[in-house]
Symmetry: none
Subunit: 165 residues, 4 copies
């Protein structure tokens, strides 16, 4: 199956960090793969510690139900069709905005979760991260994290200034 | 990062106890540090045993989300932006009033949680405790618990060195 | 039933703190009442955060089984009569040394738990705390925490220099 | 208290990744701050998904008890002084090798956990990561993550500004 690699996850996280930095709101950012399993998590300095678990579970929820958590939240209000779903899956279902599926070539290959600000801020940053992935041209399963992140052994004139992270 | 010491925690708790005593409502009182970890807890005589866990988790919640639990509770009603947050963090999120961040020099250095009365009583006592901290002039990281809590070595004629606890 | 009051709990904790300070080992100290419910907890500065839960549950265990946790631990080794007991009570049973019942007039009125050092250090400090209680002459259920801890309104000549905590 | 920043956490993780890559063993790598709260987690491609939780909890355990998890594991064998400690803290205590405290200026500022290989491989990689931190000269609390990780605004002729993540 096509799935998020660490390379992709870190690129997505970087996209979220950039947006979060620009709006001045430190975030927790998590990415899960097609299996719903955590690939990477970053807590920006001064981001809320209560949002670690939330970001990870937003990402899981967006993949587990293949929709944005904001949408799932709307469907889960009292009287709604999914009301009560938060009691399932041992407490992993997060109905807060900020969880967004990651897609490639029409498939869902994972998801990301962002938590630390208001619902609007979390959503904005999550979508910015997802767009980072969509914008990338390389197919996910064929990238080699190690090849891409290997440090240049020598940087001569015209060499690439690779910053690892 | 600046964080609550035991010295500060006990001073805050004493502030809460004084207010709780004056309104005749025995309380559970808990203080966590900047990392959300418990520093001290006191259950006043006759305070509810079901409120032990609540006080501790109110304190954790106020630090984990860097806001009063009463405010978080308002944002987490059905239809609100944080609705569903109580399902996160393994049941530690308390939406009841009575959790208040502790600040020093513009930073959040921990939080306290109070539980045992009505929401109004819990909030009143928690804020009284937080003000005890704000009123204190000594910076948190430089206080020496042992130095400050040592009993007077000599008292004048007729004095009894009564130590309360 | 005779039970630990907050007054007693704080006295016991102070006894542990004094010993812990003298041996240079910061501790988590917890006291539960006759019902096994937490009365007070103190984490000395720089004491291990992993020992918060352990101290509280040592105290609970010592009261729940009315024996020192070190003794329960000996009985719970592989091949022993209580082997497997740690799986009971939802993870609250602590088999580590440092949990000690508190007695008054031949009855168990609560327990304390100490955690932060080696098993020997935890035991030594816990027993020092328990002796603080035994040495006290006042019967536990008749003390008034508020009366004892009330601050002197005026301290004239010969007045007691009450230090609250 | 001094604590791990995201900048430090990512540097440590990079150190672990380099070692893990060199021995051909993909790892889960987690870093917690002084409060035991997760700062960053990375699962290298093909690392075991069962080791996500283990890496995070190894890091927590190393900070919670201020020692390597390998050492705690030795002390927690049947008959040992900490036997039974795995039952504490709601299942977060990991006794497997691969959790190592992070130090700066004589203080513990956090910890890392590595999981994915044998105990020897996990330990080797974790120590390599910890040495990355020790080797760094910058004091942790003064680093600016945003400043340090900002990409070069301009590179000279022919340079490609490749950012790995």
């Amino acid at each position: 199956m096509l799935t998020v690699t660490l390379e992709i996850a870190l690129r997505v996280i970087e996209g979220v960090e950039a947006r979060a930095s620009s709006i001045g709101c430190p975030m927790n950012i998590a990415v899960v793969d097609a299996g719903g399993n955590l690939v990477a998590h970053v807590r920006m300095d001064n981001a809320r510690i209560g949002a670690i678990d939330i970001a990870i579970n937003k990402a899981w929820t967006a993949r587990a139900f293949d929709m944005e958590t904001a949408e799932l939240g709307r469907l889960s209000q009292p009287g709604g069709p999914f009301y009560g779903i938060h009691a399932s899956n041992g407490g992993r279902v997060m109905l807060l905005a900020g969880g967004v599926p990651l897609r490639h070539a029409g498939q869902i290959i994972g998801a990301l979760g962002v938590s630390g600000g208001s619902d609007g801020q979390d959503s904005e940053c999550a979508r910015a991260g997802a767009e980072t992935q969509t914008a990338a041209s390389s197919p996910p399963a064929m990238t080699s994290h190690w090849a891409k992140t290997s440090r240049p052994i020598s940087v001569t004139s015209g060499g690439s200034a690779s910053s690892a992270r």
